[in-house]
């Protein structure tokens, strides 16, 4: 299991757990980031800037220290990028 900020770019992974609370957790869920969903890190900006995440058809950016609160498990299906 990894923290989302440790997940290498382009590797599909499944959300295992959210350690965020209240507002942050609600926003994550509203953007589709919740246990069971598949995601991938599309790219990350330099110098510790945000990560671009793709969940389903939604792309969004998240700061590394927020991404740390998302536990993910890489999925062994290298030729699929979208969830389900």
């Amino acid at each position: 299991m990894l923290q989302l900020d440790e997940l290498p770019d382009g590797v599909p992974a499944r959300v295992v757990r959210l350690d965020a609370v209240d507002g942050l957790a609600a926003r994550m869920r509203a953007l589709g980031l919740r246990p069971g969903r598949e995601l991938a890190v599309v790219r990350r900006s330099r110098l510790g800037g945000p990560l671009q995440i793709r969940v389903g058809t939604t792309d969004f950016i998240i700061r590394p220290h927020d991404a740390r609160l998302v536990a993910v498990e890489p999925v062994d299906e290298p030729d699929r990028t979208g969830p389900r």
């Binding site: 900006s45 058809t57 979208g82």
Partner: protein, 594 residues
């Protein structure tokens, strides 16, 4: 009257739908229970008049963030006959959750599944009938941007209005997300089909360049440069034209009409004071409109959140985000549209911090003053370098301010920003947006601007026996009183009077100098170079750069923050910084024997 409220997540085309439903006659208004303005307009739905309210974009109805609270409080304090929930057809996997929350709150609603054209292009098929049956509410597939589905939407709104009763949301808490989410997944699986593998779309291809680790930033700055070039190449002739027209109306129309009929002081008050002052401010309108168009383009195209991605590593440390940086750059054109553009930032703390920073941006009006002064006082070899250091000072004061206030004006919203696909806004969208903003600005700021102009005229023209803006006027006496404040900056009393004029608008500073020194614009450069040495001139320019930009900016600071306290800080803080910067520069330079 019946009331219809539009509700949806950000990036669903809710505002476009609002404009489609209501035309362009929206007004800004206050509502019980909330502190922000909402757009509303009247519209007819098959002969039934209704008031349509555009609620802020919200991800859910929990009420964690500022916007979510606004929506919740609105729904709890205002009875609504029908909620129109706008969803992005390509993202139903998560957006249907909002509808389920409304169901939980027991409010009457219908669904507009917007951007259906985009969904179809991506191979997404939506079973609207099944969705209707499962939710028990009407569902319309539509494209508010291009029009399909809008007649159907209007018809259904009319039908629902005939049946529904006005209702208020109970102040209850929402059920656990988990239950709604399993229902959401079930609903999505039953009603939406999408291709297993989505091909690489144009947005991903563009992003490979525009968000490139090394090329992203230079490309971003180049884009901003192009926007500026466009605004100025179109705006400057328009601005000159408007100023010329106002001057013609004065000399050919008003002056002959008033001649001999009014006492001289009243003519001077009306023409030199009110007409010229207000005219100067309003001749900036074309530039303001064009900057709104520019901001609208950057915002609606989806590039604004990309700027956040590119700049966040740096701006985040200052308590700002990349969108603040875009607005700060826009401020280099004109502070007014940049301040109004901060509305995209939904967290109040972040927004106020950005609004505190923008007035330090060296706008085009200040640039006019600096170009004039540097060519008058500095040699051609040094002048460009001097100008460049003023730009550096502009950034330095802005970043210092953000850094100092970042603890006090804190963003309570996490930076989780959607990167929507690139979209080209239609001409109507852009023009409607710019027009609405300018109308709002003129309506709310004009009273304040007229008052400011009148005060400055009185200070520089009373008592009537003294020469205009001379040492005998109230302004002159004020300058004498303030001499101990400005002497250590190397700014003499006559120059400090021009700072008072500069409070109205920076571009009148040069004109005011011409009046005070009794020299025409052409002779003024000679007079200035004999009265100010380079150190004094630079100290003066630093002060002009940093202190209150202009009346319009102050008016907009108030209009947007709705807080006199914040407005006072946003005016006083730059004054303090201006004094300290000029003082430090002037005293250091003199101590070094310059």
């Amino acid at each position: 009257m019946r009331r219809v409220a539009l509700l949806g997540m950000p990036n669903t085309g809710k505002s476009t739908l609002f404009n489609r439903l209501t035309g362009a006659n929206a007004r800004v208004g206050n509502w019980p229970g909330i502190t922000v303005d909402l757009l509303s307009a009247r519209a007819l739905f098959s002969d039934q008049p209704a008031e349509v309210v555009d609620l802020p974009g919200t991800y859910n109805l929990h009420g964690f963030s500022d916007d979510e609270r606004v929506v919740r409080h609105f729904l709890e304090n205002n009875a609504v006959d029908l909620l129109v929930v706008v969803l992005n057809a390509t993202q139903l996997d998560r957006q249907l959750g909002l509808a389920l929350q409304l169901e939980a709150l027991d409010l009457p609603y219908l669904l507009v599944v917007n951007m259906h054209d985009e969904a179809r292009a991506r191979g997404i098929v939506i079973d609207a009938e099944r969705l209707e049956r499962s939710l028990g509410v009407p569902v319309v597939l539509a494209s508010a941007k291009f029009g399909p589905g809008m007649d159907e939407a209007r018809r259904l709104i009319a039908r629902e209005l005939r049946r529904s009763q006005p209702r208020r949301a109970a102040a209850a808490t929402l059920a656990q997300d988990d239950r709604l989410e399993s229902r959401l997944d079930e609903l999505f699986a039953q009603t939406v089909q999408r291709p297993v593998v989505l091909g690489e779309d144009p947005t991903s291809r563009l992003d490979r360049w525009l968000l490139h680790p090394w090329l992203g930033l230079p490309l971003f700055l180049a884009c901003m440069f192009v926007v500026f070039q466009l605004v100025y190449s179109l705006g400057t002739p328009l601005q000159d034209g408007l100023a010329w027209t106002l001057e013609q109306i004065r000399t050919a129309g008003i002056e002959p009409a008033l001649a001999g009929r009014l006492p001289e002081w009243l003519t001077s008050f009306l023409l030199d004071g009110v007409y010229n002052g207000v005219g100067t401010v309003f001749s900036f309108l074309p530039i303001i409109v064009l900057f709104f168009v520019g901001i609208g383009l950057v915002e609606n195209s989806g590039y604004l959140s990309r700027a956040a991605f590119l700049m966040d590593a740096f701006m985040g440390r200052l308590g700002l985000d990349g969108r603040s940086f875009v607005m700060q750059l826009m401020g280099f054109g004109c502070n007014v549209p940049a301040l109004m553009g901060t509305r995209v930032m939904r967290s109040r703390g972040l927004r106020l911090l950005t609004m505190l920073v923008i007035p330090f941006s060296l706008c085009s009006a200040r640039l006019q003053v600096f170009v004039f002064l540097t060519t008058a006082v500095f040699s051609p070899r040094w002048a460009p370098f001097v100008l460049f250091t003023l730009y550096l000072a502009s950034f330095a004061t802005a970043f210092l301010t953000a850094w100092l206030y970042r603890g006090r004006l804190r963003s309570d919203e996490p930076l989780l920003l959607e990167l929507p696909p690139y979209r080209l806004p239609t001409l109507t969208q852009v023009v409607q947006h710019a027009w609405g903003e300018v109308k709002h600005f003129v309506r709310s700021a004009s009273g304040f601007i007229v008052a400011g102009v009148v005060v400055v005229w009185l200070l520089t023209h009373l008592p009537a026996s003294a020469p205009v803006a001379g040492a005998e006027t109230l302004a002159g006496r004020l300058a004498a009183m303030l001499a101990p404040v400005f002497d250590p900056l190397g700014i003499d009393q006559l120059s400090s009077i021009t700072l008072l004029f500069g409070f109205v608008a920076k571009e009148v500073v040069i004109g005011a100098m011409a009046v005070i020194y009794g020299a025409g614009d052409s002779a003024l450069q000679g007079v200035l170079s004999s009265r100010m040495d380079p150190v004094q001139a630079y100290s003066f320019m630093l002060f002009v750069l940093i202190y209150t930009p202009c009346l319009s900016t102050v008016a907009v600071l108030k209009q947007e923050s709705k807080s006199w306290r914040f407005t006072a800080i946003a005016v006083l803080w730059p004054l303090v910084v201006a004094w300290l910067a000029s003082f430090a520069f002037y005293q250091t330079a003199r101590a070094l024997g310059l």
